[in-house]
Amino acid sequence: MAGRLCVRVLLLAGLLLLSVSAPGQDDYPRLTGRVVDTADVLPADVEESLALRLAEHEAATSNQLVVATVPSLGGRDIESYANGLFRTWALGQKEHDNGVLLLVVPADRQVRIEVGYGLEGDLTDALSSRIIRNEILPRFRDGDLPAGIEAGVAAILAAIDGSYRPVDEDEASDYLPIVFIALWAGFFIFLIIRRRLRARHPNGARRWAAPVAGTRRFGRAGGMRRGGFRGGGGSSGGGGASGRW
């Protein structure tokens, strides 16, 4: 009886694991840089100059604009794919949601500008649509994808330039609460231990002061600096525009 129950629980746990891993978003490419050219339409020099330009823009404003080309949408419409990709990559800084994704799907002849919450006021749906219609699509229709993407990036950067200043590099606020709690907890533990020890060896308390200082290291984990490029934690609610050519 107990054995059968155990088997059932194990089966259930296995099912749960399966259901958690099954609908994984593995059809999204990895965020390898500011230009993710998985459909391979950009020559290396264009890719490099674009990436440099985007990096300079982020350094000046903290806005994260990423250009992505993908070979296929996996049967979804470009709007929901772009939103899913944007949220998976978490473009834009967490406190501003100031990311933009320029997504090009050459095989389906579709393009979309997906705008993070924080830039919806600067890069409105109407403006995104105008950039696609006037800057990107004419060049795409001539078959010149790199030129269309460069023109689109230039127009987007012009629209969002000056909207934000760089995020404050001092990340103390990230781990301040943890340090605070850890210090308090450490203080109480210290008090209890000291009491105990005092009861046993009246002069033995000093050796135990160490844990309080040790709690500081705890907090550092929240303040990791990025090694490569990654999203800043921003999100998007579906703003922007799409186009076909």
Binding site: S80, S236, G238, A241
Partner: protein
């Protein structure tokens, strides 16, 4: 005397430590999960309302611009205007997310407006001058963007409500609800099939 004072002090420290531990334990067991998830679902619902409102606000301008080029399409224009006024006049009770009747009515009215709008956009196909006017293109971009935001907001709401309802119905949450949150009620959700029907294609 000093011995008893220090004993009292010690017991105060112990009580505080024990209380802290109990609090941490309860938090770890999810005593806060229900209110947290409820707030998240409420926020997602506000976003849904917000985006629908945005669409409602766009309609008069759109109707105006289309009238300028295609006044003879009276039937579809009237349909849009009527559907919009039904949406605008709709009373939204505060308990709408736990009131199936009000929730269904809200859905129906919004769907009627969505349907009328996509018919209007389809009608416009026949008017090349209108389709290429900058005014119309701008409004069309705004409408598309809004429809897309509505779709995203609905998806987020579905997910938030799913998490909240699951918490209410599954074990630790069910006990917490019975003891501490007796008024917590499952929220209404959009069905997935409706989801597929409700997103009108406003594209050419």
């Amino acid at each position: 005397m000093p011995a008893s004072a220090s004993a009292r002090y010690l017991s105060a420290v112990r009580v505080t430590a024990a209380l802290t531990l109990v609090l941490l334990f309860l938090t770890g067991c999810g005593i806060n999960a229900i209110p947290t998830l409820e707030e998240r679902a409420n926020a997602a619902w506000s976003e849904v309302l917000n985006q629908y409102q945005r669409r409602t606000d766009l309609v008069p301008n759109l109707v105006e611009v289309v009238k300028g080029f295609a006044a003879q399409e009276r039937e579809v224009l009237t349909q849009v205007t009527e559907a919009r006024s039904r949406v605008a006049q709709m009373q939204i009770p505060p308990d709408i997310t736990s009131n199936p009747e009000a929730f269904r009515r809200f859905q129906e009215n919004q769907q009627a407006l969505g349907g009328a709008l996509s018919r209007l956009i389809a009608t416009v196909e026949a008017y090349p001058d209108l389709r290429s006017s900058e005014n119309f293109l701008t409004l069309q971009a705004q409408l598309e963007g809004t429809e897309n935001r509505i779709a995203v907001a609905r998806r987020d709401y579905i997910e938030a409500v799913r998490a909240y309802n699951t918490e209410l119905r599954t074990i630790p949450g069910r006990w917490w609800a019975a003891i501490f949150y007796p008024d917590a009620q499952p929220m209404q959700n959009f069905a997935i099939e409706e989801e597929a029907q409700a997103a009108p294609q406003v594209r050419f």
